[in-house]
């Protein structure tokens, strides 16, 4: 798949253009340009390293939103051996922004839920740009309860700009759908592993994110509000989204430091969009390892640890202690 480079990748693109031009002009000629080629190649390597080894929060947000980034169903076909998608919340409809169903990770049975974005306009209409309606959250919970019934773990792949702020969503009580999931996921008597694979947009992400392990891909972000929304409130101007992204501490490494994320899953250089197979292999490795660990725990211990994990979040001063 063709990957359109992001603005900050332009220096690399320019060098690659120079390299291609040099190779082109020297082909079939007598002069030896191998030294020049080697020099540019070295420079490309160095520039890539410089750019990718110190990505800013905003650059990571752009990678997380990259249209060529692997989405939930891409990981399904790369990491899982089987997937039977199951549809509908049994009340209103089927939310295609939130596919879910039985899946096999190697031989392990599990219930997979997640957000799915579209890659083009047509697909995005169907997937609502990965913004789920109440039906999506209610379908996800229905199927998580099904997983509980048959004793299989839940894998949640999070990738949403946020729950859908639509008229119908409000009329069908989107807030309650999310709140209900938060409470019920705390009581599910099966292991849950959640992974933020792209965008972790606020309550819409958390609505399937109460888990025994919360993992995050290296360039994903997870935030209480979008950088643009934060900038609009703080600086009255969405142009300040890069500053807001920095201030929100929304990158995987920031969140690992804050204890909200248990493990950061490495991505190939430049981001998962450049090497889906490698990204998927890393994801699969982390899923298998974490599922093995949490599945070994007795249910009572699992639930107590899940409660305490979320119970501990927050920083405050308690003068009594």
């Amino acid at each position: 798949m063709d990957v359109t480079p992001l603005e900050f990748e332009k220096p690399i693109v320019e060098l690659e253009r120079q390299l291609a031009a040099l190779k082109e002009s020297s082909s079939g000629q007598e002069i030896d340009v191998s030294k020049e080629i080697a020099a540019i190649e070295a420079k490309i390597k160095k520039t890539r390293k410089e750019i990718y080894s110190k990505l800013t929060a905003w650059q990571r947000v752009q990678i997380a939103r990259h249209p060529a980034r692997p989405f939930m169903l891409d990981y399904v076909s790369h990491c899982f051996d089987d997937f039977i998608e199951l549809h509908g919340d049994r009340h209103i409809g089927d939310d295609q922004a939130m596919p879910a169903g039985f899946a096999r990770l190697d031989s392990r049975k599990c219930m997979l839920v997640g957000h799915q974005k579209g890659r083009d306009t047509k697909e995005n209409l169907k997937r609502n740009f990965g913004s789920a309606n109440p039906e999506g959250y209610r379908k996800a919970l229905r199927l998580m309860r099904l997983a509980e019934k048959f004793g299989m773990p839940v894998v949640a792949l999070i990738d949403t700009p946020g729950a859908y702020p639509g008229i119908g969503a409000e009329e069908r009580n989107i807030a309650e759908a999310i709140a209900f999931n938060l409470r019920e996921m705390m009581t599910l008597e099966i292991p849950i592993v959640a992974v933020v694979i792209g965008e972790g947009g606020s309550g819409g992400a958390l609505g399937i994110g109460v888990a025994d392990r919360v993992l995050m891909l290296e360039n994903a972000y997870y935030s209480v509000i979008s950088p643009e929304g934060c900038a609009a409130i703080l600086w009255k101007d969405r142009q300040f989204a890069p500053e807001a992204a920095e201030a929100m501490k929304l990158t995987a490494t920031d969140l690992k430091r804050l204890g909200v994320v248990d493990e950061v899953i490495p991505e190939p250089e430049g981001g998962a969009q450049y090497d889906r197979d490698a990204a998927a292999a890393n994801l699969k490795d982390a899923l298998v390892r974490n599922l093995n660990e949490v599945s070994a725990k007795p249910v009572a211990k699992l639930l107590e640890e899940r409660y305490q994990k979320f119970r501990a979040f927050g920083e405050y001063e308690d003068p009594v202690k």
Partner: protein, 282 residues
Amino acid sequence: MGIFKKPSLKAFGRKKQDMPEGLWHKCPHCGAMNHQLELEEQLRICKECDYHFKLSSQERIDLIVDSGTFQEIHPKLATVDALKFQDYASKVKKYKKLTGLQEAVVTGRAKINGNPVVLGIMDFRFLGASMGSVVGEKITRAIELATQERAGLILFSASGGARMHEGILSLMQMAKTSGALARHAAARLPYISVLTDPTTGGVTASFATLGDIIMAEPRCMIGFAGPRVVKETTHQNLPPGFQTAEFMMEHGLVDLIVSRTEMKDHLSRLLGYMMPSGSAVS
């Protein structure tokens, strides 16, 4: 200024010229001007449209709790600027001074017509009663206390949502409070959630909509996304009354819309049905 033609100020035994300036409050719902003294007299309810103006946490306590029974818990829990977020520390300082409150929620034990409850009341004056670590922690401790003491739980919500200045930690308060409610529910204890103007964002999407009973004050705004965001995202005109208590009741979210004048009575009657037998005073 035509609406000022017949101000009913006689009831207060004062003449109009005695009234200090700036004591008129415009009703955010219907636009009618209500005088301060008049509002105080009628529990801050708009005389024209029944809109319930925002109350301070203390006013709310005075209104629904048996006199002298409120014992605040964890009053000193204090905000920390965990992310070193622009202007946050100074903002908190400012609102502390402005409101005399430590944070945006007051919690404690209380009795309502003799029924022991644990009570939490959000105060919109403090940073829009947004939920950060302290709000989440105080509410969670209140829920856990209610579970431990086998008490009913009543939370009055009003909030602009999760508090941006504490980033992801604010988001996690949604899961934390909801988790504590799962345990309170498992103990078969009643939780009454009362939504007041406005209840939005991460508070609506967590403890506020998890009540066994969800009550709302008339005309209050209840929503997940703000109306401006909904309008801008969907490019549609919003239906009349969108996100009001009445609209949300019509759409199945709210059990009861209850006037302030009857709030205490309703709370104790509902507790009478739901408290474990023997522990409720009906």
